[in-house]
Symmetry: D2
């Protein structure tokens, strides 16, 4: 796993794409470990994720980008190159609820998530003891309507200081400004506590109870300036019945939120997600 690289590619579909890319790896003595490709026929967009062993690869890590660039240009590719032993740096934003935070931190501590977590940021003091349990710095930045701009600037400064690669909103109950969001394209993962696009906005379990649905859900997505409308990464559902009160739905929903958010983080860490046209390709 450690001495391998991943290419994530998208471009207009043309014949010869797979042949050319795999030939590049093969000719340089790379062994393909995983290859996934997809063509969105309607949009005529080609997507590919290929992971290969670097131990026998003839090109040095530092030279791969240069070596691949001519091929990438000839197909007009959008592409990312990742080395799989590189640990990303993830910030977690929370409010008062602890279930997602505990779930993420315990996965991180057990080694399931290969990630650095340099900071937890919150608009409330409540979860500081949890961050402390895991020896992670906790910054309380209270956000109100009047202070939002200033406080978001503080948050962004913190993210820069901690050299954060991507941000997880683990039931962070504030809406980020467009300014904030556009600085992290496909780099802010949110968990929404409903089966989107049903029940956008506040109190989705109350909305679900009111509507009398028989199934509730949770949705993880990349954050875009439109509320709860970004590209969906993962969803899951649970059955409810007439016996379930709003409180029961909230309790059952927490389990969905935990697992749906953690799966999205796992896909992101594995460089398995390509966002386009407000959707995602998730190679899993």
């Amino acid at each position: 796993m450690t001495d391998s690289a991943t290419l994530l590619i998208s471009c207009s579909d043309r014949t010869g794409l797979v042949a050319s890319i795999t030939d590049f790896i093969f000719k340089n003595d790379g062994n393909i470990l995983h290859l996934d490709q997809h063509v969105d026929v309607e949009s005529n967009i080609f997507f590919m994720r290929v992971e290969w062993d670097l131990s026998t690869f003839k090109i040095w890590r530092k030279d791969i980008e240069t070596a691949f660039t001519p091929l990438a240009k000839s197909f007009n590719m959008t592409w990312q190159l990742h080395f799989n032993d590189n640990k990303l740096r993830m910030a977690i934003l929370v409010s008062k609820q602890s279930h997602c935070l505990y779930d993420i931190l315990s996965r991180w501590q057990s080694g399931e998530f290969n990630v650095e977590i340099p900071v937890v940021i919150s608009n409330h003091p409540d979860l500081e003891p949890i961050a402390k349990k895991f020896d992670i710095p906790y910054h309380m930045i209270k956000v109100t309507k009047d202070t939002k701009v200033a406080q978001e600037n503080l948050q962004m400064a913190l993210l820069a200081d901690y050299q954060i690669d991507f941000v997880v909103l683990a039931r962070y109950m504030q809406i980020l400004s467009e300014d904030f969001v556009t600085q992290f394209p496909s780099k802010i993962i949110n968990i929404h506590h409903s089966f989107l696009p049903a029940f956008i906005g506040a109190k989705p379990y109350h909305q679900a109870y009111e509507r009398g649905v028989k199934i509730i859900g949770a949705t993880s997505h990349y954050v875009t300036p439109n509320l709860d409308a970004g590209p969906i990464i993962e969803q899951d559902v649970a059955r409810v019945t007439h016996k379930d009160s709003v409180q029961d739905m909230i309790r059952k929903g927490k389990d969905l939120e935990k697992s749906v958010l953690s799966r999205a983080i796992w896909y992101h860490l594995q460089n398995r997600i390509l966002a386009y046209n407000n959707k995602t390709v998730v190679f899993n």
Copy 2:
């Protein structure tokens, strides 16, 4: 199963309800086969379904209603009495797609559905051969914007002629008028091909594809004058990925539609559904 009765009851919650109702059955030598109750604490409404053996019951079938009325009045109950060997008469309305119709007819023929199906009505001729395979009269009543009122009157006359108890819209692609709908309260079951309240209206799979959801669904509900907004009886979901085209979603969705509609019919036939406040209690 055959020599038994079911009471479906709802009323304001008060102490003594279960005791009084079960005592009524017990004192008359009935043996309770199934009992379910539920209290909607927010609305303070009590719901109950009780099924008991009539073979030892001291009151004749024809006299049960009279015997129960005083108790029902004292608690101001809304109630229904059903004899479980009574076969309901169900009309099926279809358009062009056959999957739900086949599914219903094969369940009926194998004895899974204890129901009479005296008629299939459609606005298209396409499915007549299927009705014929099962020796069921098929009436083609073409509906256009201009002829809607007249044609619905024809439909309602047919339903009356065939002494229909309840109607199933098995992918019937027309919107019934308020006039029609209000004549069959909690007696028209529709299948909507989305996970309501997401994707109300036309072409829900296209909407789901566009939104990039990772799970699709189907919803059966009682029809009310508000489009796709009636009390939900049953829902189910299936996973989709970026690989699934709209056509794949339609194919996977058909399986959901079949099973979700058939489960709703089954609950209805078993007198397990109580609709209230635009929701349902489903005792299953």
Copy 3:
């Protein structure tokens, strides 16, 4: 919720059971909050769970048992009376894996589990730091083939010292002796990492991988002297494909284990489980 009581009852089915029990509550001015009953028709066994409000109940808590005894005797009931503000005391046994322990402790800390957790016991030192994070005493009792009897005696002494009501095996990788198990009938909850009865015993994910199943599962059950054969409380499943290695199955399985074990604990805490004939009735 706090000032209420729950009766869990089982006995041979006879007419008049529900009427008599609900009449007992009604006559003493209790208001029924929840009532569930079930008859196992094959075995002719009646089961009931009834929860009622004590705030208006005419009988003092300490006298309810005496007051109910004559009725219980007349139907030859097996029964339990629980007061819902009583906090049970739960011991957790673990080995080296942390995911279930973290999940349980975070639910407990957030108030989702209304329980005391006075002690964590393990045959390994690995998880002591986690217990410490939550200020729970951790006892390391190493078990080997030779020391098993003596060490189990130590464990049982600890459970007695801590006045433990029930035990949770949160991926505790030792098989408890018959002697131990029979002291806690329906009071030891285990999580087995397969969809029982498939893949009993060691390394179930390896077995599942070898067999090429498309779905894996997890099962929580009460422990009986027969390995992995006790009454099943809850199960859940997750899809796998040919792409999933044993390690992937283990990772996906951990999420199942967490949620399936926690649901079993939740049902147990709510007095919703009746075990009989090596099965369970779970009123949920």
Copy 4:
């Protein structure tokens, strides 16, 4: 869809496989529509499914096999070439239960299954009327212990006469002899009414009821000489509770059987399944 070909390939994993295969298609002006590959790392086996557009392909259909052979030999591939407008010929074997038969025939008639169904064979007369409804010849071949060899010979003669490509056991309740089975490797699809490997053999729902499971399942698999032990193609599950009798499990299970069998047929028809080591790779 029609003017396309699919290659299904397996061989020992080596570098250059994907590059060589895709280069073969690219150099001959084929446009890849779908490509899936998988490496079983433990067994070091490479699997690939590639589907490409023939409309621009420079090699005539009849010459593709010859053209591809050198490459196939150099990697020692096991491979199949399919033209996607070729309709396979499928025989259905049934006993007395109709649900799977109806489900298959209605999918076939609506065009969902691109297949010929020249014959239905049964050991009972019961389902002849259904085959007749769809104008499919029905052969009743009664099988008893004494006549099994002779009757299986009759069945095999029929399959040969009708030029059958593969066989579907749609709840056919007889065990096929090793002789029969070995003539159709990976060409007989069975539906077993349990979540294999749990509840092998007769009356799985009764076994499931007895064991008190909370989830039941169904499994489609290729038939091998070992009963219910062939490579699993697809599985699915449904929740049950203590309220579900064996009859309820059978009813719920029928829905699983229908959909799980039909999904297996669909994968088979799309040439998406590769069986090896008593497992399957299903490219879906």
